[in-house]
């Protein structure tokens, strides 16, 4: 198919439908309204169900029901709404139900603002709701990836029986770029013998998250943790540019990675050896590759639209082999390439202490 110019949010919605999404439940919130808008328009015409829920709490529990009944299902929201969904997300992870949850992140805390942010990183990758569980977290860096990673997200969700979060932000959601949808996209076909579709000629299926026997619940959580370890082995994704000879490695995902790339190009013109490391999966985090890249002669610079959340995972990954610095903006402010460049220059000249 020829490339079409689309907003990130619309590309994501279109990709979801092509990936076989059969139901969407959501509640309005800026800056993700194009997603439910697109779904409301298209999904019913293309064999699916769109329903505006009474709240994000209801929406995520509708997702639980539909996923438990075996459908490919999605919800989207932005930060305050994602906070409301957390109990439901914990249930979905516990019941091992596949679904895609989109967070087009805006800035907090509180009602915060509607400008883009990356302040929900901890919530997305460390759990967010109660209990020991993980989401698979995908971080698109372009409109094309808003589409590609959403389609991938449905496959990963089914493959691992695990909720997948697309961690985007207001810029990626709103900006327009050319996007290509493959003509022959084939969603992964996964049997769901556990789904509650009606117990015809079989024993009843139960979708449940309760287990009051401690010994048995411990085993269940151990099994979940084992699954997360296998996901770490098999599903890590990232992108590198110019890391071969880099003395300073910028680390950023999503919008921050785009800004870091501009700064890197300018720094290279000045003769500073800078590379870019862009995690595409935030869980699992590409920690092994970062560790390999680290060393006493290298410096890392995390670029974030938050107080510095991903930087903690970078530090854990490099295990003290290299110093890790932070360049950040808050409150919906976006770092400029010049700000990042200024930090790069300081690091290159050795003017910054950790």
């Amino acid at each position: 198919m020829a490339k079409v110019l689309m907003k990130g949010n619309e590309a994501l919605a279109e990709a979801a439908i092509r990936a076989g999404c059969k139901a969407f439940f959501g509640y309005p919130i800026t800056p993700q309204n194009e997603i439910p808008g697109y779904m409301a328009d298209q999904l019913p015409l293309r064999g699916g169900v769109y329903l505006q829920a009474e709240s994000e709490v209801s929406a995520i529990n509708m997702v639980y029901g539909a996923a438990g009944a075996g459908a490919r299902v999605m919800t989207s929201s932005s930060s305050p709404g994602i906070s409301l969904k957390q109990e439901g997300i914990s249930y979905i992870a516990a019941a091992e139900l596949p679904c895609v949850i989109v967070n087009v992140v805006r800035c907090g805390p509180g009602l915060g603002g509607i400008q883009p942010s990356q302040g929900d990183y901890f919530q997305a990758v460390k759990g967010g709701g109660h209990g020991d569980y993980r989401l698979i977290v995908l971080a698109p860096g372009s409109v094309q990836e808003m589409a590609d990673l959403t389609a991938l997200g449905f496959d990963l969700a089914d493959k691992w029986r695990n909720p997948v979060m697309i961690l985007s932000d207001g810029i990626l959601g709103q900006m327009m770029e050319p996007v290509d949808f493959p003509d022959t996209f084939e969603p992964l076909q996964v049997e769901k013998p556990w789904a509650t579709t009606g117990a015809v000629n079989r024993k009843p299926n139960v979708v449940n998250t309760l287990d009051i026997i401690a010994e048995s619940l411990e085993k269940k959580v151990e099994r979940l943790l084992e699954k997360y370890e296998r996901i770490k082995e098999e599903e890590v994704r990232w992108q590198e540019e110019g890391t071969e000879d880099a003395e300073i490695i910028l680390v950023g995902y999503g919008t921050s990675a785009r800004i870091a790339r501009s700064a890197m190009e300018q720094a290279r013109q000045e003769g500073i050896k800078v590379g870019l490391f862009r995690p595409i999966t935030l869980f699992p985090f590409p920690e092994r590759r970062l560790k390999d890249l680290a060393g006493p002669e290298k410096k890392f610079l995390a670029v974030e639209m938050s107080a510095g959340q991903m930087i903690e995972d970078v530090r854990l990954a490099v295990e003290g082999q290299s110093p890790v610095y932070l360049c950040r903006r808050l409150g919906g402010m976006v770092p400029t390439p010049e700000e990042v460049l200024a930090k790069i220059r300081e690091l290159a000249e050795g003017r910054v202490s950790q």
């Binding site: 169900v49 009944a69 579709t197």
Partner: protein, 251 residues
């Protein structure tokens, strides 16, 4: 030999964990009998809510999901909307679950005319968490969190769910029944069956509120609890059909 007692097919062999004098078990049986009578066990998906009846997923012999506290109508909506039309979806919810934390979900499922069946157990108390005040607790009723009796000036008045939902266009069938005498139990069974039939006929949202006892948390013998229900709950929660669109059609 004549069979005088048989377990409904829609119930499993699991032993019920309910306290003596609790009517959850009786109401489970009524639901299972309705499912059997309509021959819909293999196409039914039930939703157990958080409360004493959470283990209903072990007791009903059909596909089951266990929902977060209050969210059963949302879970039911998700299931109902993605499965083939002949699938029957019911929720089984307590009064804390449905009338407090889950008020938004039940009102909106009803307003949408969601084609599901809701079995609503009103025992005027939070059973599972050991007897706190519920939104349905009567004025003057002593609970763990209204130790001097529920006072209207501090906590307002108990909520009448059938009456409240009857103001909406969405519901097809709303009835309040009781479980304190054999005669009432028979009536309750008929109402529950009707609420499933409404769904089969795609009439829309159906809810049966069943007045129920919690003798342990009420601090009464089972017999006194039945009496207390009759003398205190029924005057405030009158039994009857609050909405039935098929009755209107029949007229």
């Amino acid at each position: 030999m004549k069979t005088v007692f048989q377990k409904p097919e829609a119930m499993t062999d699991a032993q019920l964990h309910y306290c003596p004098g609790c009517t959850h078990g009786i109401i489970h049986r009524l639901v299972a009998e309705a499912i059997d009578a309509l021959g819909i066990r293999e196409q039914t998906i039930g939703i157990a809510s958080v409360g004493c009846s959470v283990f209903a997923y072990d007791y009903f012999n059909c596909d089951m999901q266990q929902a977060a506290h209050g969210r059963a109508p949302a879970v039911a909506t998700g299931i109902k909307r993605v499965l083939p039309e002949d699938r029957i979806v019911f929720t089984y919810q307590g009064d804390g679950d449905l009338a407090s934390i889950g008020m938004a979900e039940i009102v909106h499922a009803a307003a949408r005319g969601e084609n599901i069946t809701v079995i609503f157990i009103n025992n005027a108390i939070y059973g599972m968490t050991s007897g706190q005040m519920a939104p349905t607790t009567l004025i003057g009723q002593v609970t763990a969190t209204s130790p001097r009796g529920r006072s209207a000036s501090e906590t307002g008045h108990p909520i009448r769910i059938c009456e409240l939902l009857a103001t909406l266009e969405g519901p097809a069938y709303l009835a309040r029944v009781s479980s304190h005498t054999p005669r009432h139990i028979l009536q309750a069974g008929r109402a529950i069956k009707k609420a499933f039939e409404m769904q089969q006929q795609k009439k829309g949202f159906a809810l049966v509120e069943v007045l129920s006892t919690c003798s342990v948390n009420w601090g009464m013998t089972p017999v006194n609890a039945m009496k207390w229900l009759e003398e205190n709950m029924i005057p405030y929660y009158p039994l009857g059909v609050y909405k039935d669109i098929t009755a209107e059609e029949d007229e």
